[in-house]
Structures are given as structure tokens and as C-alpha cells.
């Protein structure tokens, strides 16, 4: 099956997946060097989901993401340097060094955060959509969450409320088969996650989350339906995390063979192969993208290295609009 996209678009999609992969690899390296601390959750293996979705959504749409959100933030347009600086904890990071890896924010990009309480971002997405509906803004709120979040009460409550009040939320379930270290079959009674939302009147579909073109098409169709009907919809993106849950994870809950099996579906390799066999791109293009990505990431690291630490005297800033003391 041919990809049925333009050469330019193929290059864009590939470029963004490679940018994420290289950013994440560099982050892992910097974590080992203790430049990045705390929790670090890598998106390697899942790039097609973030890239396909972000290309399908409009600039004016709202994004609510999880703690595994570097890729979403990058493709959404938060500069790599500001992401890296945030992971360093520097004042020139996109959250001023107060959020870190799990809490990237950008008002300019309508990026309402990396949320690190599983399921906790979902009611916020519902509320953003409620605000838009009340103001008659033709906006979609895209809410990313993992398969683990579907266990939470807030998942069920949010589907119910969004459907009851007809709110323009696109629920995007990044099913990577593990809630931290607990496999899907060990944490849900029905492994077909898309069976759930229709019980609340929310139409649901699933797509191969390792196929960037399929993701982009599905998110485009679903988001435009949400916009047209002002009603929530649900899309499951079936993907797989190639790296550990976080840098603390010894991965004792799954076999190397299982991971290797999934790596055969690597979203970047498989897209490159298809785009080359369709004669949309050449090895020279890939080399150029890799060179650009390397340069971008190197500049991002430099930006983070050069960044200032916020003075500790300013620690109470932004706790309230005005200092209470």
C-alpha cells in the first residue's frame, strides 16, 4: 500500500519523528551524566503517535499531555532548547525550571502541561472544552493519556461529563501496553480499551500507533468530527514503549524478546522504508534530516548549559498572583 502523501509531507513527518528520537536519546545520555535529574520518561518507540497527532491538530487547538510529553511539546513548537533547559531545571526552560521533564507548559502553544498524576489531566481537558463551548470557540481540546489512565475513575467521569455536556474533547489513549510495569491484561478487565467509551455515548476507534500516516489521518478525521459536532470522541493509538518506564525502571516485568519483537515495528524505520520504496525520499534526505536534528539537539544542549539558575530568593514567585507576605 502506498503512503499517498507528498514528498514534502513525508519529509516533515520523518523529520519530526527523528527530532524526537534524537532529543530523547540525548536526554538519556544527559541523565546518565546527571545533568537531568528526577524522573525522566522517554517516548522512544511512540514517536508516530505524537507526530501524527500534532500534525493533524490545528494551531489553535488545546493540548493536555502526560508526563511522557517531550515529543508532544517539541512537535507542538516548544523550542528544543527550552525543553532541554527545563529538564536541566534552568530559568530559561519552558516552565522556568519549576516543572522539569514531567511538566512542560507553553501558553503560546496552548500546551496545558505535562500532567504526572495518571488521569489527572482529563478533567482539565473537559473544562478547557467547556470554556471553549461557552465562548463559542471552534476549538478542539486534545487530551493525551495512557492505557493506565483508563483504570482511573476520572477517565470514566470525564467521558461521562464530556458526553453529557457535549464538549469538544478528543480523548487520545496512547496504549503502550503497560501501566508503568503492569501489563494491559493485568490491569483492565477488557483489553479492547475502545469498548469502554461507547458505554458513555462517546464514539471510539483504534488505530495502529506505529504508523505515523495512519495516526495523522485518524486524528485529523476524529478532531474535525469533534469540531463539527461539538461532541467528544475517543481514539486508541496502539503503540509500544521501547525504553524503560522511567530511568529507575529495571524492566523486570517484560522480556527482551518481547521488546525486540516490537522494535520490528519501529515507527521511524518502517516509515523510512515505505517512503523510500514509494520513492518519496532518498537516503540523502534522511542523512540531511539526521544532520539537522543533530545540530538542533546540540544547540538545545548548549542553550540549557548556558541558561541561568533562577535565584533561590525568587522561590515563592508564581505561588500566587501576588506575594501573600
Amino acid at each position: 500500500m502506498t503512503l499517498d502523501i507528498s514528498r514534502d509531507h513525508a519529509l516533515e513527518l520523518l523529520r519530526d519523528m527523528i527530532r524526537i528520537r534524537r532529543l530523547e536519546e540525548k536526554s538519556a545520555e544527559l541523565y546518565a551524566k546527571q545533568k537531568i535529574r528526577g524522573f525522566l520518561h522517554l517516548y522512544i518507540g511512540e514517536e508516530a503517535v505524537g507526530v501524527g497527532a500534532m500534525h493533524a491538530l490545528r494551531e489553535d487547538d488545546n493540548i493536555v499531555a502526560t508526563y511522557r510529553e517531550h515529543g508532544h511539546a517539541l512537535v507542538r513548537g516548544i523550542p528544543a532548547g527550552e525543553i532541554m533547559a527545563e529538564m536541566y531545571g534552568k530559568a530559561n526552560g519552558c516552565s522556568g525550571g519549576r516543572g522539569g521533564s514531567m511538566h512542560l507548559f507553553s501558553a503560546d502553544r496552548r500546551f496545558y502541561g505535562g500532567h504526572a498524576i495518571v488521569g489527572g489531566g482529563m478533567p482539565i481537558a473537559v473544562g478547557l472544552a467547556l470554556a471553549d463551548k461557552m465562548k463559542a470557540e471552534p476549538r478542539v481540546t486534545a487530551c493525551f493519556f495512557g492505557d493506565g489512565a483508563t483504570d482511573e475513575g476520572e477517565f470514566h467521569e470525564s467521558l461521562n461529563l464530556a458526553a453529557l455536556w457535549k464538549l469538544p474533547v478528543l480523548f487520545l489513549c496512547e496504549n503502550n501496553e503497560y501501566a508503568m510495569g503492569t501489563a494491559l491484561y493485568r490491569h483492565v478487565s477488557d483489553r479492547n480499551i475502545a469498548n469502554n467509551p461507547p458505554a458513555y455515548g462517546v464514539p471510539a476507534d483504534s488505530v495502529n500507533g506505529m504508523d505515523v500516516v495512519a495516526v495523522e489521518r485518524a486524528v485529523h478525521n476524529e478532531s474535525e468530527l469533534v469540531r463539527e459536532t461539538s461532541q467528544p470522541r475517543f481514539l486508541e493509538l496502539k503503540t509500544y514503549r521501547f525504553r524503560a518506564h522511567s530511568m529507575y525502571d529495571a524492566e523486570l516485568y517484560r522480556s527482551k524478546e518481547e521488546v525486540e519483537e516490537h522494535k520490528k515495528q519501529d515507527p521511524i524505520d518502517s516509515f523510512q522504508e515505505r517512503a523510500m520504496s514509494d520513492e518519496l525520499i532518498t537516503q540523502t534526505d534522511i542523512d540531511a534530516i539526521e544532520a539537522d536534528a543533530a545540530e538542533e539537539i546540540a544547540a538545545a544542549v548548549e542553550f540549557a548549559e548556558q541558561g541561568e539558575w533562577e535565584p533561590a530568593e525568587d522561590i515563592t514567585r508564581h505561588t500566587y498572583a501576588r506575594d501573600l507576605s
Binding site: H103, G113, G127, A129, L130, K135, S158, L161, A321
Partner: protein, 324 residues
Amino acid sequence: MTTYRDAVRTALQTLLREDPRVFFMGEDVGRYGGPYAVSKGLLEEFGEDRVRDTPLCESTFVGAGIGAALGGMRPIVEVMTVNFSLLALDQVVNNAAVMRHMSGGQFEVPIAVRMATGGGKQIAAQHSHSLENWYAHVPGIKVLAPATVQDAHDMLLAAVEDPDPVFVFEHQMLYGIEGPLDIDSTPPSPWKAAIRRDGADVSLIAYGGSVHKALTAAVELEKEGVSAEVVDLRSLRPLDRDTIIGSVSRTHRAVVIDEAWKTGSLASEISAILAEDAFYELDAPVARVCTLEVPIPYAKHLEEAAIPQVDRIVEAAKRTVGDG
């Protein structure tokens, strides 16, 4: 004279009339008219879009209020009672309180959350909590406890106007009280404590429903020759340290009345403030009159025994002046 309930309703009406960004949501606030009849008539006046009956999902409708505030609205969320608000604590503590700081000041959450609190109605252990101190513990949010009819009105206006998340605790025994309401006066800052009665011998420091018990105790004490000052904290976060310390610096004795359990209570916090910053002003140890460390029982005499009452306040005050 106006009831506390009507004062809250008047504030809600004013807010809904004057600001198109304001909307009001919660369980049974619309068709039912509010569990305490606070919002009677609002659905009819403002319609389904701005007065919203929610499903029974405290976490998600409080979270949706946070999201709507992020999206530029000014939501007023009613959580029926503090007891049910426990289901929404994740959204309060992990989202509302931290959003501004965690985003480096990019996002703010101008939400106002109202809820009933306290005991006294024989509705037993799951419906009689006083957990204001759980909220007042958390930086990033503000906490108000209106004790008077005027404050019930003014503090809701202030909560909605404020750019930060504000939680307003209305003691369930106060909805029926009557008092003067002047909607044209310029209200005092909601973040300052008020001296409700001047006195010279002991400061009775209270908030919410306990303020009225403290005032009654002060009348009793006067009969026995003890002049008690009554401090109404009004704001539980931030706490008005200056007014608390100022009062105790005049009376040199303090009794703190708090319907929460004593352990880890706001009464403990105020006692600590006095120990830290007014130690040399004190002529007697600080006394606390709090709820006994038991779940609130159903039976009337047991509930009364659990919750602070006027006689316990009088007794504690007399002890501090060396007459108990």
C-alpha cells in the same frame, strides 16, 4: 435583615449578572435549587448554560472548573459539602494549587469553590467533617471562612475576583442566621481577621461557625467579670498573623476555638504562631477548644459532647485567667 443563605445567593446573582465569564456548577444547584436552598431561582434566571447541575463526580467537576478557569472562564463550583470534597482533593492539591508555579507563571486558575462544612445537625460521621485545615495547609490556594451574613456575600465576590484558586467554607449551621447586609458598602479586605468584640482579659480566636459560640461565651464571661475579645479569623490561608498577635498583645491570654480535631488543626497552627511570635506577651498557656478525637457521633448528646460548645469555651477562658 438577611439570611446567610440569601446573602450567598445575592452574591451569586450579582456575579452571574455582571460577568459573562462567570458560571456556576455543582450537584443539585440547578433544578433542585441547591442542597441548602442557596441557589434557588438561579437556573430560572440564568439558564442551563450558566447554572449547571453536575453528575456526582466531584473530582471531575472540580477538575473541569480548573480547566474552564485555565480556558478564561470564572467558574464558581459548589461541592455540596467538605465531606464529598475529599473525592476532589487530587484536583485541588495536584492541579489547582500548583498550576501557576509549575508552569513558571504562564497559567493561572481563577476558580472559586464553595462548600458547606461542620457538624451540628446529627448527620453523623460521614457528613459532619471540619477539614478546612487540610486546605489551609496547601500553598497556592486561598481559604476563606465567612462567619457573618455580610462576609458570606462579600467573600464570594472576592473569591471570584481573585486570580488564584479560592475555597470558601460555609458552616452548615449558619445558612439560616440573620444579619445586616449592605451590598453597596466597600467591604474590608477578606484576607484580614476582624475583632468582633473588644475585650481586655482574654482573646477568643475562632472562625466560621465557632465565632458565634465564642461571642456567646464572651457574654457569659462578662457576667462573671471576664472581658473577652473575639477574633474572627475570616481568612484561613493566608492567616492574618498581625491581628492575632495584636489581640493577644492586648489581652495576654488566648483560647483558640476550632471545630476540627485538635491534632494538626488550625488551632495548633495559631498556637504555634503565638509561641513563635508572641511568647513574651503571654501571661498564661494558650488553650485550645477543639472537637474530641472521635468520629462525629449521631446521637444528639454525643455530637454535642464531641464538638466545641459555649461551656467548654467559657471554662477554658476562665482557666487562662486563673479562675477555672
